[in-house]
Symmetry: D3
Subunit: 249 residues, 6 copies
Amino acid sequence: MRLLVVNANTSEIVTEKVAAQARASASPGTEVVAVTGRFGARVIGTRAEHAIGEHSTVALVAEHAGACDAVVIAVSYDTGLRAARELLNVPVVGMTEAGLLTACMLGGRIGVVTFGRRVRPLYEELVTAYGLAARIAGWRTLESTAAYQRGAHDALDNELVEVARDLVERDSAETVLLTGAVMAGVPTRLQARVPVPLIDGLDCAVRQAELLARLGKPKPSIGSYAAPAPRELIAVDTAIARALGSPTA
Amino acid sequence: MRLLVVNANTSEIVTEKVAAQARASASPGTEVVAVTGRFGARVIGTRAEHAIGEHSTVALVAEHAGACDAVVIAVSYDTGLRAARELLNVPVVGMTEAGLLTACMLGGRIGVVTFGRRVRPLYEELVTAYGLAARIAGWRTLESTAAYQRGAHDALDNELVEVARDLVERDSAETVLLTGAVMAGVPTRLQARVPVPLIDGLDCAVRQAELLARLGKPKPSIGSYAAPAPRELIAVDTAIARALGSPTA
Amino acid sequence: MRLLVVNANTSEIVTEKVAAQARASASPGTEVVAVTGRFGARVIGTRAEHAIGEHSTVALVAEHAGACDAVVIAVSYDTGLRAARELLNVPVVGMTEAGLLTACMLGGRIGVVTFGRRVRPLYEELVTAYGLAARIAGWRTLESTAAYQRGAHDALDNELVEVARDLVERDSAETVLLTGAVMAGVPTRLQARVPVPLIDGLDCAVRQAELLARLGKPKPSIGSYAAPAPRELIAVDTAIARALGSPTA
Amino acid sequence: MRLLVVNANTSEIVTEKVAAQARASASPGTEVVAVTGRFGARVIGTRAEHAIGEHSTVALVAEHAGACDAVVIAVSYDTGLRAARELLNVPVVGMTEAGLLTACMLGGRIGVVTFGRRVRPLYEELVTAYGLAARIAGWRTLESTAAYQRGAHDALDNELVEVARDLVERDSAETVLLTGAVMAGVPTRLQARVPVPLIDGLDCAVRQAELLARLGKPKPSIGSYAAPAPRELIAVDTAIARALGSPTA
Amino acid sequence: MRLLVVNANTSEIVTEKVAAQARASASPGTEVVAVTGRFGARVIGTRAEHAIGEHSTVALVAEHAGACDAVVIAVSYDTGLRAARELLNVPVVGMTEAGLLTACMLGGRIGVVTFGRRVRPLYEELVTAYGLAARIAGWRTLESTAAYQRGAHDALDNELVEVARDLVERDSAETVLLTGAVMAGVPTRLQARVPVPLIDGLDCAVRQAELLARLGKPKPSIGSYAAPAPRELIAVDTAIARALGSPTA
Amino acid sequence: MRLLVVNANTSEIVTEKVAAQARASASPGTEVVAVTGRFGARVIGTRAEHAIGEHSTVALVAEHAGACDAVVIAVSYDTGLRAARELLNVPVVGMTEAGLLTACMLGGRIGVVTFGRRVRPLYEELVTAYGLAARIAGWRTLESTAAYQRGAHDALDNELVEVARDLVERDSAETVLLTGAVMAGVPTRLQARVPVPLIDGLDCAVRQAELLARLGKPKPSIGSYAAPAPRELIAVDTAIARALGSPTA
């Protein structure tokens, strides 16, 4: 199986990181192809950048998904998820969506840890969009940016463990999701210090994408995820135009 | 007051139509400036096109909002609304959001009419995103595309009146929202034939944008709508880069 | 335009205060007519007083709304809102309803500040009634009664700023609504000390009432807000009897 | 035990009917005292009349509840329920509230039958106010006014049975509530023709009021149902003024 | 009236305790018959034990409910409630369900006190199952096991009073439910120290069971609570087989 | 990997059917071990039988799960799911839960088809319990029992296709879940005739169980899914007693 990991951030270094983690999560026979956004934010962290990233995701999957069996959106706002799901004939999974839904199958309510007060509402909006508000035990927000720096992050690790435990203690969380593509791999490292499952969205997304690819459901032919009839667009990537059957292609 | 009407569709003809309706809705002293998307779909009607439109909206407001006092998103999926609201120092209102919230102030539950089974889920997702699901009485979907053609549309008019009445009769709707930028102006024409207020999202959005501009609330300095600190982006419009303080600008 | 501001409290001093604030919020051409309850509580602060105030509001609007273009309910429990909306041919807006819905258009979730633990449930019930529970970030309650006294209220101001900031800090509120007619004008004075928009329900209600009057939607002819067919009542104000077409009029 | 049945309608004939039904529902040792509104609508059927009825209920309970052990609100919009509950030291139960909550204990979701499209939203608002929306299987509305006329109502009976069965058949209702004080007694008569329990709100309210009286919970001393500290009101009934400790009493 | 109190715990001592409390709650003419589980946990405190208890409850009611007029489930997870309600021709009430619904009729939102972090999610799940999440003001969890020991529990009493007051103070709870069969009788003892009604689920359940028995609603003949047509089971109690009409009986 | 498929029905024929389907869904290296209930209903179809099945599931997993890596609950009411999840150190997945959550990742709202009006409320209760009500587009119920008979079921197939299409057409469902263990395999057969993905709960559950086993999250040590401290039970299976550390083992 060939799995496309889409990083709408324009930072190869982030792509390399998520690609490495995705390879660690993937089944033996799965080839991971990771692509990086060609325009937009180095690291998506604002609503405007997320909006640009929606387009970027469409461009990336239009160009690269052709030979792939499934796609993982490796930006934790699930940037471009619904658009890519509509456009492609193969399954597309977002890392936060997959983290949340997989956590549901471990049982109980989910504590969510986000980085930065600025983006917490975006995660709340994702939860609302997925209809999962009733499954959330509580929220904690860290302001640290250490995760984006190289080297060990003992202080950040301690802070993460502390808020995860607090979600368990005070809000009765039965699993804890660490959001953020940059957190990929961290839950595994810190798991031993937290009394409930620590969920890694990317890890879940890679596995769920493989699962859906093997499940082999057909593309719907009606509704909002059906393949669009030929459309007319201007000034877009050749790949996008072709994918949407635009005469400008 | 100067009001920017943003049409992320790349069809000048749609822009002209919404601009005319916006001028009809605006206060005497308000100048309406309408801009058209420079890339993307002629008429946004798929999730992929909506995703591209999110970026397009950011580009349009980054370039044109500078001298304006408020902005109206004139695509009925409220494409790019949250991003524009974050980016700008002036109020931004979406036409479907404004239609729904204004309808709330008329009292009771809202019936919603959408065009095309394909896009109805997008409107359901907007309602969910705005936390207004409990205010919806029911949904009706028409498949007609007559609205995009010139001339009178008696058959479509009749169909619209019929489904609006049916929402009142069977679902106890106390107002009815006709979605779609192309519907701008139609509610006024058909109002006499429907027993409850027929809501025109664009009409509401223009008026709400003026209201918010006069209300004069400051830009938040914290949270997801605060002005971002300088960001780093690549390969984006000069206007976007400048708006986000990117060194590449 | 002529705007009726209805104060079901039987305190002229409160009426004068809200009338002054309403005039400050109204458009240049708008005449504000403010009326005071003729029976009931000096300051509505209990459920029983609110119930009496419901009747009082009906009496006030039946007598005074005739020559007006829109009505604002200037009691922050939106006392009598739905009844007045049914009875009149012109738009009626409640100050808390308008504050909440206007805040929605500024984006994100709303923190709510109430005065007195006793009445906080009434505001929670309003939010539930409007279907807006999902839009609330959190609640804070102050017990101070200083607002009802003349002069500067530095201690209260400080307390208000503190709880507003706390709603932003801990609950990720992106706007904050100060409830209470007595708070009219305060948000403007304290805005500079709070990092997100501070919402003034009366200010919003006046502007929304003007907006709805100009929007010009017709009275529904079906449903719970349609004009009632002639009714039979006894021992009520002549104005109420007339408004409801009662033979006892 | 002495049970006060409050009919805020100003029709003695309705009072007599509900009093008779209340006596049929009450325990052997319970004395039913029924009182009729002294002002307002003959039969509350509009929002304005409901608002007046809120005041009327306060006046009635302030005057008559003194020697009673519990109170039943015998208007099916539960008019004045929350106000009376605050004001009195004894339990107060609304007939629709009691019907809904009792139905919950029979299991499953509830079908609701209302009379008149005009008032259905008021019942929907009650359900929302009680937080019970998730327990409703569906709604049916009849336009018949036969129930207010004397004699047998075979056609209406048939219609009621038909919609009740339809709620069971199509919406999987497991109980059906017939709203409306005028329906008191009807569920018992029609029960044999409907395959699930037909709920009579008044019947439930009388029994729940007795239950709560015997349960003997104290009046809260904090919160929105605590007895108010002395208040100041003008131009209200002596009984109301006394109940609220107003100096004008 | 004959009331069956079902204790699926296999501890006679718990049965004696709840039977005594049930007798204290029951009407003068009511005979309380209390039965103890014959298999399963001494005190149900895990999900697996609750699952076994579901079966145990079915066995107990199949054997003992025949001569009874109503049934109370005296395990506070309402273990086996829905199954017993389906199986029997008489009303069945769970103690937590009855506590919650009765609290609703006292007005406002309910604070809930649970024993043990381990089981709090089970109570949250009950609230969700009953559709009552919107009626909950907040949760508090105590870890004390003193309640299961004989003698006075001053420390526990103090702790209970403290968390109940805190629910009132910080979460605006207007009633407080003490969960747990072992808490039966405690609310009455501590009521004077808490400013809002302290609810005792068992007390409510006994009274509601009597009420429903007197209400006399028929068994539904359609739906999930109708009597099952003859079923085929193996290796179950004779009483269960007989109740389900199994040929193996 | 070794996967335990638990059929709490006491029908080996059903076990054989689900085992065959489970093997078809499992990865090449996965060994499927299927076990059949030793007591209770031949085919669980009532609430009482479901309650007995809860116990039966606990008995089956206590005895058989030891050497397994994950467990699938192959009764479509997810009978015993939460109890088994608590008891075991390996992941446990219910077929309806897995079907719903997997469908979420295909996008949009889910139509649900159930067999028998009697059990539809049980599925509605599952959806509520999982917090997924907002993801449901609509429900359809068939009364056919043909699925339990051998041979081709053309009439049933046609009926299934018809209701699935109707869910798409009228309720905008974007996936359709066929509930019922007996439906295992049917979605694949009928997929070509339905325009959106037809979901097979068992198929999803087997794959999700494998996924969770490979994900390797640890057993929580706190909360409702932690391993219980030694408990005391009587008259239960040796395996159950041992699993719960009961001294009676």
